[in-house]
């Protein structure tokens, strides 16, 4: 490292970036001044029911002009519903909306657009086979013939994209663009319509950390231009990083609105969940026993012949959690699938308690692996973990549907299946505990708990678990982490693949870092730090250097 770098390398200031000097004060000033002025948005007593679900309960909310306002809450807390009401996508049963202090009727998105409100939805509202320009124009075409307004729009687009640093090719087909760029198109669409209020619903869910930083820069720029930004998220880190004020929602109601500068992640998490939350699970030192899983020089190639897993050797012992860290797409998925019997292997071997279970061209099937006591929580619950159109009770026996416990002499036994599911739901706190509900009707966290329950309750000797808390809210994360630690303490071997660094650091007793299909380093829990693992994940530092 060069000596002329002026930044002090104090690790403690890491969270807020190196400059927490004058710029931080500037950031905060406008919001404090504007708290006195008329808020850009004021919601009064917004109430909304969907059938039996009370999605919003008498919500009052004020959002100051030219500020970035965060709305956080668990999945299903009603934050998206509230913003969709503001956007006219849904209509409130009761309540008033005031824009710049004037009561405004917003029954349709067109009225919201007219009132200067734009929204970037969680699922992008873009037409994939349209060009950027066509998407921009949709709904704002002006005259009957589109040619004239298209030429106009092209000019406006280059002006706006230059102004906000949102560069895109107006003639690119949107479906071919990466998600980060598609999101820019969404923002441009809103700016093009002259919006003063911009609502973003979970905008970072689809972005890489770098793209997220880019987005935050754009949001700050928008604020500097006097726009009001509302950011819906469940990632507390982001709230702390970019917002001026934050509103916490719980069960459809506002649990509190705070100045970001006066709060912290722990306080927000507790407001979200309504009780104390352990952000980091308490655990004792592991007492590893015999090796359970031994992988020797394993290589797995994909359909095109590229090695996705290359020459990997590792072992998981009884009573320990081995964490596999790495940026998604560096071979972790292929590794865990090979271990579960879902992929053919091209070289090396896999042994379970000393017994060979996979050699090239002699792999055991997933069913065989299950019978040997290896259960698998797949990375993508909707693709591989459960079938969203099935009842929860049916999803709860997937993979074990042939088990005598669920079958009569000829037909499957519905009663037993439902009872089994009710039992799992009770043990794993799946809410609502309704075995007859469609699997897809549960929130992400509850789906994940159901899949975990199914696999953990089989009492495996080895649990393979991929991304156990992806898209899962804070309360459920805590629960899932505790169950994994309990399993470990009961002497089971656990192999954990996660892209969340915090999760790896919180759970794993040993950490292996994968980069481009290879293991680039191994650390014990004591040695592991975000910085060390982060560098290994980027492929910068190899083992021992």
């Amino acid at each position: 490292m060069s000596t002329e770098a002026p930044q002090p390398s104090k690790d403690g200031a890491g969270e807020d970036g190196p400059f927490k000097g004058p710029s931080a004060i500037e950031d905060r000033l406008p919001s404090e001044l504007l708290a006195i002025a008329t808020p850009a948005i004021e919601l009064q007593g917004i109430d909304k029911r969907f059938g039996t679900v009370h999605a919003n309960r008498a919500v009052d909310l004020k959002i100051g002009r030219a500020s970035i306002h965060g709305i956080v809450g668990e999945n299903g807390a009603g934050k998206s519903t509230l913003m969709k009401i503001l956007y006219g996508y849904y209509q409130a049963d009761k309540g008033r909306i005031l824009i710049d202090g004037r009561e405004t009727r917003i029954a349709r998105p067109s009225q919201a657009i007219k009132a200067g409100i734009g929204m970037v939805h969680q699922h992008f509202m873009l037409v994939d086979n349209f060009t950027v320009l066509e998407n921009l124009m949709l709904g704002a075409e002006g005259a009957f013939w589109i040619r004239g307004s298209f030429n106009n729009a092209r000019g406006v687009l280059s002006q706006v994209s230059w102004e906000y640093g949102l560069e895109v090719d107006p003639d690119a087909v949107v479906g071919d663009l990466p998600v980060g760029v598609q999101q820019r198109v969404e923002i441009l669409k809103i700016l093009f319509r002259g919006a003063e209020i911009i609502v973003l619903d979970e905008p970072t869910a689809v972005l890489t950390p770098q793209e997220t930083q880019e987005l935050f820069k754009i949001l700050k720029r928008l604020r500097a231009e006097g726009k009001t930004v509302v950011l819906i998220t469940h990632k507390l880190q982001e709230v702390m990083e970019v917002t001026d004020r934050v509103t916490v929602m719980r069960d459809g109601a506002v649990a509190g609105t705070l100045n970001t500068a006066d709060t912290n992640k722990r306080e927000l998490a507790e407001l979200m969940v309504g009780r104390r939350v352990v952000l980091r699970v308490e655990k004792t030192r592991a007492t590893p026993g015999r090796p359970c899983l031994e992988v020797d020089q394993l290589t797995v190639r994909d359909e095109s012949g590229t090695a996705r897993v290359e020459d990997i050797t590792l072992a998981v012992h009884e009573g320990e959690i081995l964490g596999i860290a790495g940026v998604s797409g560096n071979g972790q998925s292929e590794l865990i699938e090979a271990l579960a019997g879902l992929r053919r292997i091209d070289a090396g071997s896999i042994r379970l308690r000393g017994q060979v279970v996979a050699l090239p061209n002699a792999e055991l099937s997933p069913a065989d692996m299950r019978n040997l006591g290896v259960t698998h929580v797949p990375e993508d619950r909707l693709k591989m973990g459960l079938i969203s159109a099935f009842d929860a009770s049916e999803s709860a026996i997937l993979g074990y549907q042939g088990d005598r416990a669920y079958n009569g002499p000829l037909l499957s036994d519905r009663g037993k299946i439902v009872n089994h599911c009710a039992d799992l739901m009770q043990k794993f706190d799946v809410r609502p505990p309704e075995p007859q509900w469609r699997s897809g009707a549960f929130s992400g966290g509850n789906q994940q708990k159901l899949v975990l329950a199914r696999e953990i309750e089989r009492d495996p000797i080895l649990l393979l678990v991929g991304q156990p808390t992806r898209g899962v809210d804070v309360g459920a994360i805590e629960f899932i982490h505790q169950r994994l630690i309990e399993m470990r303490d009961a002497g089971k071997a656990i192999l954990l693949v996660s892209a969340e660094l915090d999760e790896i650091l919180g759970l794993a007793d040993r950490v292996v870092v994968m980069f481009e299909g290879k293991i680039v380093g191994e650390l014990t829990a004591e040695e592991a730090s975000p910085k060390k693992i982060g560098l290994m994940m980027a492929g910068v530092v190899g083992n021992g250097s």
Binding site: Y89, R108, P109, N129, G139, G142, F144, I146, R147, K189
Partner: protein, 324 residues
């Protein structure tokens, strides 16, 4: 030599006559599916239009009033389809099929009730039909080599609905690609959520598309009973609605390729008529049934093998429900 030329020209002429209602129906299907509504009821709406046109023409003696009646009746059925599929999120294939079955029975039944004929309408004559007419100068120019006969046999001599169809081709293409309505139409069939959040009513747009669809089917129906034939006959659409659907898929939901596909199918049909009873050297006379099957065999072969990847508008067939 001259005989061969005349044969070719007559074939082209016949192709155009057969293609006209196909193009109208295929465009109707295209507008519907571009808006996200699958329309398997083209056949039924054409037949309803044919019956309405023949009935109105028989009663009033005016082919033009027949055309207007056909358009109105066909639009009414299109609105019924839209009511079931757009307003009530019904199954679009079932609704379309229901229209086909309903009309197939209703037409002949009403014909019996009103005219006492065996499921037909009275024979149309004079101004109650759209007859072919010669374009100016057809006889004068005939003497010119090639261009003369081409003008006389192929371009001149059709009925007004053929010329209307030819005029509608660029009109529909421009409507879809160059206008606000077209942009929204293309968008709503791909991603209605994007349209809704852009502040445009999805239902309104789909109803509008179905109105256009009904009008086009109505013209196609009037063509069948008051231009191509002289009255309504039971099942006179004879699968043309389905053929039009196939042409639309073969044309990948795009105007010009769809027209070309219609011409191809129409050519097969014209050829089929020509080949009936003709002994082919080396093979002999082919049974009529086998020859009549030609256009349909062609359809199956083309759709199975030569279309390549036909990508339908992504949301066609899926009722629009706000949440996802």
């Amino acid at each position: 030599m001259a005989e061969a030329l005349i044969f070719v020209l007559l074939m082209i002429d016949a192709t155009i006559r057969v293609a006209a209602p196909l193009v109208l129906a295929a465009f109707a299907g295209m507008v519907a599916e571009r808006s996200g509504v699958i329309d398997i009821g083209l056949e039924g709406k054409m037949l309803a239009g044919a019956f309405a046109a023949a009935t109105a023409a028989a009663m009033t003696g005016s082919a033009w009033l027949g055309l207007i009646a056909a358009i109105l009746v066909s639009i009414a059925f299109a609105m019924l389809h839209a009511y079931a599929c757009v307003t009530h999120n019904g199954n679009q294939v079932v609704s379309g099929m229901a229209i086909n079955i309903l009309v197939a029975g209703l037409g002949p039944t009403l014909a019996i009730a009103w005219f006492g004929l065996a499921g037909q309408t009275p024979n149309l004559e004079g101004p109650a039909r759209f007859a072919g007419f010669a374009l100016p100068g057809a006889d004068v120019l005939e003497a010119l080599p090639l261009a003369g006969p081409l003008y006389k046999e192929v371009i001149s001599g059709h009925n007004i609905l053929v010329y209307l169809t030819v005029a509608l081709i660029p009109v529909v293409a421009v409507l879809i690609y160059k206008t606000r309505f077209g942009l929204r139409l293309r968008a709503v069939g791909e991603n209605p959520h994007a349209v809704d959040t852009a502040g445009i009513s999805v239902a309104q747009l789909r109803y509008l598309a179905m109105a256009v669809n009904g009008a086009l089917c109505g013209i196609a129906g009037a063509y069948l009973s008051t231009a191509a034939a002289a009255g309504f006959v039971r099942d006179m659409s004879a699968g043309k609605g389905y053929l039009a659907l196939a042409a639309m898929i073969f044309g990948k939901w795009k105007p010009v390729p769809t027209v070309l596909a219609c011409l191809l199918f129409a050519f097969a049909d014209a050829l089929q008529i020509r080949l009936q009873g003709v002994a082919i050297p080396g093979i002999g006379e082919i049974p009529v049934q086998a020859i009549q099957a030609l256009p349909y065999i062609l359809t199956v072969v083309l759709l199975a093998g030569f279309v390549g990847k036909a990508v339908a508008p992504k949301s066609s067939g899926i009722p629009y429900v706000k949440d996802r």
